[in-house]
C-alpha cells in the first residue's frame, strides 16, 4: 500500500494542454474517485499515474518514489480497464497468472495466489473458461482478479462499470467497495457517474477542462459545493438554479419573482445564483413569504418518492418529495426551501458566496 502524490502535473498533446498543473494528495489506503464530464482529463491523469502516458510537467510520486520516468511494470500498480482488456486466447486462470509468470515466481505460489483471488471474487468455477465464454460481470471480475493477484500498492480503475447494464453496475459497485474494505489498498477510480463517485469514494475529485474544481469527502461536496459546476454535477436530480440579485427584500429573480433568503444573506446585495437541491424543497399547504409559487408541468411518482417538474416564472424547477401527491399539470404548488440547505454563488458561478 502507498500514498500517491500529484504535484503540478500537466499534459500536452502538441500545442494543446489537456491537464493544467493538477495537484492532488491521495492518502495510503484511500479510495479516491476522479469524476467529471467526458474530456475533463480524468482518464489522462489516471493513465499518467499508470505510466501509460508521459508527463509533460510536474511530478507524480507513488509512496516516496517519483515515478515520472519509471515504466508501468516498475510502479507496483495494477489497472482495471473499461473494456476489461482480458487476453482472449488465455483462460481465466491464465489471465490472472500472466503477470505472476512474468515475475518468475514458482508455480505453486502462482496457483495459491490465483486460487485466493478467484475465491474472493467467486471465479473458482470459471478458471478454465475463456473470456468469450463469460458474461460482462464475470469478465469484469476476472479483470479485477488479474489486478488483485499482483498485490499492488495502488489499484487504478478506468470506468470499469461503463459497459455493464444498470442493475449489474449497482451490484459490481458494492463488490468493488467491499473489496476495497477488505484489501485496504489505495484505489484511484475514474468515472463519469456521480452516483458511483458518491457511493464508493472516501474522497471525490471533480474535474473539468483539465483542472480540479473541488476535492473532498462526498458529503462535503454535496453540502458545500465550491462553485456552480460542482453543485450541478454532484446530486441527482441536479441542483435547481435561479439567476437574479440579492436585495433587502430577498432574492429577486431575473423575471421579477421573489425567493426567500436568510436575513444574513440579504446584506450581500449583489447579482448572484440561488441554488437549492430538489430534495430540499418541501410542499407547503399555503403560500407564504418563505415559499416559491410554482406551476406544475409533470409529476413522476417512482414509488419511494415523487419527482415534481415545475416552473418558477421562466425557470424550470425540480422537487423530490417523499409524500404521494395528486396534482395535475398546470396546477399551482407552493414549495418551501430548507433555508439551511440554501446555496448562493457568484453571478459567474465560479465561487460560493
Amino acid at each position: 500500500m502507498a500514498s500517491v502524490s500529484i504535484e503540478e502535473a500537466s499534459k500536452r498533446y502538441g500545442s494543446s494542454k489537456v491537464l493544467h498543473d493538477v495537484s492532488l494528495d491521495i492518502a495510503d489506503g484511500e479510495f479516491v474517485t476522479l469524476v467529471g464530464p467526458s474530456g475533463c482529463g480524468k482518464s489522462t491523469l489516471l493513465r499518467m499515474i499508470a505510466g501509460l502516458e508521459d508527463i509533460s510537467g510536474g511530478q507524480i510520486r507513488i509512496g516516496s518514489k517519483i515515478v515520472n520516468d519509471i515504466a508501468p511494470k516498475e510502479r507496483d500498480i495494477a489497472m482495471v480497464f473499461q473494456s476489461y482488456a482480458l487476453y482472449p486466447h488465455m483462460t481465466v486462470a491464465e489471465n490472472m497468472a500472466f503477470s505472476l509468470k512474468l515475475s518468475k515466481i514458482s508455480k505453486a505460489e502462482i496457483k495459491a495466489k490465483v486460487d485466493k483471488a478467484s475465491d474472493i471474487l467467486g471465479l473458482t468455477p470459471l478458471l478454465d473458461r475463456y473470456p468469450r465464454q463469460l458474461s460482462g460481470g464475470q469478465r469484469q471480475r476476472v479483470a479485477m482478479g488479474r489486478a488483485i493477484v499482483r498485490d499492488p500498492s495502488v489499484f487504478l480503475f478506468d470506468e470499469p462499470l461503463s459497459n455493464l447494464d444498470a442493475k449489474l453496475r449497482v451490484a459490481m459497485r458494492t463488490e468493488i467497495k467491499a473489496l476495497h474494505q477488505r484489501l485496504k489498498t489505495t484505489t484511484i477510480y475514474v468515472t463519469h457517474d456521480q452516483v458511483e463517485a458518491m457511493t464508493m469514494a472516501d474522497k471525490i475529485v471533480v474535474m473539468r477542462d483539465g483542472r480540479i474544481e473541488q476535492a473532498g469527502r462526498p458529503l462535503e461536496l454535496y453540502d458545500h459545493p465550491a462553485n456552480l459546476f460542482v453543485a450541478q454535477f454532484i446530486g441527482s436530480p441536479s441542483m435547481n438554479m435561479l439567476h437574479g440579485t440579492i436585495g433587502a427584500e430577498g432574492f429577486a429573480t431575473a423575471d421579477g419573482l421573489q425567493a426567500p433568503l436568510e436575513p444574513n444573506h440579504k446584506t450581500l446585495s449583489r447579482p448572484a445564483i440561488y441554488g437549492i437541491r430538489p430534495e430540499h424543497l418541501a410542499i407547503a399547504d399555503f403560500p407564504a413569504p418563505d415559499t416559491l409559487a410554482v406551476t406544475v408541468d409533470v409529476i413522476e411518482p417512482t414509488g419511494a418518492e415523487t419527482q415534481i417538474f415545475a416552473h418558477f416564472g421562466a425557470t424550470p424547477i425540480v422537487a423530490v418529495v417523499r409524500e404521494r401527491i395528486t396534482t395535475n399539470p398546470g396546477d399551482r404548488l407552493f414549495l418551501r426551501p430548507d433555508m439551511e440547505k440554501l446555496h448562493l454563488f457568484s453571478a459567474d458561478g465560479n465561487s460560493r458566496l
Binding site: A50, G51, L52, A71, P72, K73, I77, A78, M79, F81, Q82, S83, A85, L86, Y87, P88, H89, F98, S99, L102, S103, R146, R150
Partner: protein, 273 residues
C-alpha cells in the same frame, strides 16, 4: 422461381469452375497419355489407354525431379520462415502504440511489391555473383524472402492494428516487455493472420520462376525451373512435362487445401475480433 435462380447460380459456378479447371484437367490427361495419343486429332479426354510411364520417367532417379522438388521445398520453407519472422516483427514495430511514426515505413515496405521483379534480375545476378552465392539455394531463398516480407508485414499489420490498444497496455502494466507482449499476447491472437501470410509466402515462393531460373544452376533448380527444362530446343517431352507439372503443383494444392480457411481470413483484414 427460387429453384430456377439457384440452378442458374450453380450453372454459373460450374461454368467458371470449368474455365479454371479445364487447363488442369487437360494437363492431367496429357500426363496419362502415351506420346502417340498426345498428338491424336481431334484431342480426346477419354477413349485412350492411360499409362503411368510419364510419372515413372519423371520420378525415377535419373531425372532428378525429386531432387528439384526437394530444392523447392527447402527454398519455400526457408523463405517463408524468414519472411514470417521478419514480417511479423516489422508489423508489430509499425502497429499499436508505435503506430504514430509508422506510415512512411509501412509504405516504403509495400513499395517492394510495387516494383516489377524483372527490374531486379540484373542487379541481383551481379550481387550474388560478387558474394559467391550464385547457383545456391540460399540466394533464391533470400530473393523470395524480400518480396514475401512486404506482403507478410502488411497482412499481419492489419490484424495487429485491430488488437485493442488496452490489451497491450494491460500487458505493459502486468510487467511484460515489448518482446514479451509480442510473444505471449499479440502473436497468439494473430494466429489466423500469421497462418494466412505463411501460406501466401509459401505459395509465392513455390510458384516463383524468374529469380529461381536466373540464380540457380543445374544442381539447384527448383520445381518450376525443372518443369521448364522438359521444353528442349528441338524436342518437347509433353508427357513428362505434364506429369512433372502435376507432381509440382501437388504440394501447393495440399497446402492450400488444409490452409484455405486461414487464407480467407488473411484476405479479409479486420475479421479477427
Amino acid at each position: 422461381m427460387k429453384i430456377f435462380r439457384i440452378a442458374c447460380v450453380y450453372a454459373a459456378c460450374l461454368a467458371v469452375l470449368a474455365i479454371f479447371l479445364a487447363p488442369i484437367a487437360w494437363v492431367v490427361v496429357i500426363s496419362l497419355k502415351m506420346r502417340g495419343d498426345i498428338f491424336t486429332w481431334p484431342p480426346t479426354f477419354f477413349g485412350f489407354k492411360p499409362t503411368m510411364i510419364n510419372y515413372v520417367n519423371v520420378l525415377s532417379g535419373s531425372s532428378k525431379f525429386l531432387l528439384y522438388l526437394g530444392n523447392s521445398l527447402i527454398v519455400a520453407s526457408v523463405s517463408t520462415v524468414v519472411a514470417v519472422c521478419i514480417g511479423t516483427l516489422g508489423a508489430f514495430a509499425l502497429s499499436g502504440r508505435r503506430k504514430r511514426s509508422s506510415k512512411l515505413w509501412s509504405y516504403w515496405m509495400l513499395s517492394f511489391r510495387m516494383m516489377p521483379p524483372v527490374a531486379l534480375i540484373i542487379p541481383y545476378h551481379f550481387l550474388y555473383q560478387k558474394a559467391g552465392m550464385l547457383g545456391s539455394l540460399s540466394a533464391i531463398a533470400i530473393s523470395h524472402s524480400v518480396f514475401s516480407v512486404a506482403v507478410v508485414l502488411w497482412m499481419t499489420k492489419n490484424f495487429f492494428d485491430e488488437v485493442p490498444s488496452e490489451i497491450e497496455e494491460a500487458a505493459m502494466v502486468d510487467g511484460a516487455s515489448e518482446w514479451q507482449t509480442f510473444r505471449y499476447i499479440i502473436l497468439p491472437m494473430a494466429k489466423a493472420a500469421i497462418a494466412a501470410s505463411l501460406i501466401f509466402a509459401f505459395l509465392t515462393s513455390w510458384n516463383e520462376f524468374l529469380f529461381a531460373a536466373i540464380l540457380s544452376n543445374t544442381k539447384t533448380y527448383t520445381a518450376p525451373v525443372a518443369i521448364s527444362s522438359f521444353v528442349g530446343e528441338v524436342y518437347v517431352s509433353w508427357g513428362e512435362l505434364a506429369a512433372a507439372t502435376i507432381v509440382g503443383i501437388l504440394p501447393a494444392l495440399v497446402v492450400v487445401f488444409f490452409g484455405q480457411r486461414y487464407l480467407l481470413v488473411g484476405l479479409a483484414p479486420g475479421a479477427v475480433k
